[in-house]
């Protein structure tokens, strides 16, 4: 599944139009504890989190994730979006809950970690 397909599936807004949407997503994950994500994250992951500060981008970039997904219409902070563009990390904002996002991705065959 590509980032573009994820974007459509979860009715998301693309907050970083500059990044490549043909990137392959390897798996899905949701967690709001950054250290936990550092321990369990993998490359190519699509990560759902309600955290919107800059460190989310640092974690996603260090783990070489495919995308960060912000659920429930929450808006990512502007400095974080700037950082995301710099680091080439895709940020998607979805009106759906984290639960619904994961359910839709799983139903289409995207594996958990």
């Amino acid at each position: 599944m590509t980032v573009e397909e994820v974007l459509e599936l979860i009715e998301a807004k693309d907050m970083t139009p500059e990044t490549d949407k043909n990137t392959e997503v390897s798996c899905g994950y949701t967690c709001d504890l950054l250290s936990w994500v550092m321990a369990h994250g993998t490359a190519g992951m699509a990560w759902v989190t309600v955290q919107t500060h800059m460190n989310v981008i640092a974690v996603a970039s260090l783990m070489e994730m495919a995308a960060v997904i912000i659920p429930e219409g929450i808006e990512m902070e502007a400095p974080s979006l700037e950082k995301a563009k710099e680091e080439g990390i895709t940020v998607l904002e979805s009106p759906l809950t984290a639960y619904e996002i994961c359910a839709r991705l799983a139903a289409k065959g995207l594996a958990g970690k």
Binding site: D32, L33, L34, S35, W36, M38, A39, A43, T49, Q51, H53, M54, N55, V56, I57, A58, V59, S61, L62, M63, E64, P79, E87
Partner: protein
């Protein structure tokens, strides 16, 4: 062993917005040196954790990156406050992080265990009132 590269990164206490910048720079530097993805990932995780520990818990410190043909070494040296009980601090799930840090998603009590898990060698020395030094190496072969 001949040191190929040595770089120092000052890390400010409480600087949550810039936290992770030293780790990002270190990862980029190592990538340019041709360090493989597996070691790169382990260094990145440990480096981020130790950088965040400096931001969350210390009164400020320095992160030093050393590269030689055998290994990558990270040294974190701070100016206090020191850890009273290292064994407790090393326990997964134990954290003394502030409410501010926890609100941002830190303080899961995974930092030190994550470092130890990812480093080939891990050493922590701490004295209350003086400071903490963490030395981690990552074998390249």
């Amino acid at each position: 062993m001949a040191v190929l590269l040595e770089k120092n990164f000052p890390v400010e206490a409480g600087a949550f917005t810039t936290a992770g910048e030293a780790s990002t720079t270190i990862k980029r530097t190592l990538k340019q040196l041709g360090i493989g993805p597996e070691v790169l990932r382990r260094v990145s995780v440990a480096c981020y954790e130790v950088e965040l520990n400096l931001v969350i818990h210390s009164r400020g410190g320095t992160l030093t990156l050393l590269v030689d043909p055998e290994k990558v070494t990270l040294i974190s040296k701070d100016v206090g406050p020191g850890i009273p009980d290292i064994e407790k601090a090393m326990t997964e799930g134990f954290s003394t992080a502030s409410d501010e840090a926890r609100t941002l998603g830190f303080g899961a009590g995974m930092g030190l265990p994550n470092m130890k898990r990812n480093a080939s060698e891990f050493d922590i020395q701490s004295e209350v009132g003086v400071g903490t030094t963490i030395t981690m190496s990552f074998a390249l072969k």
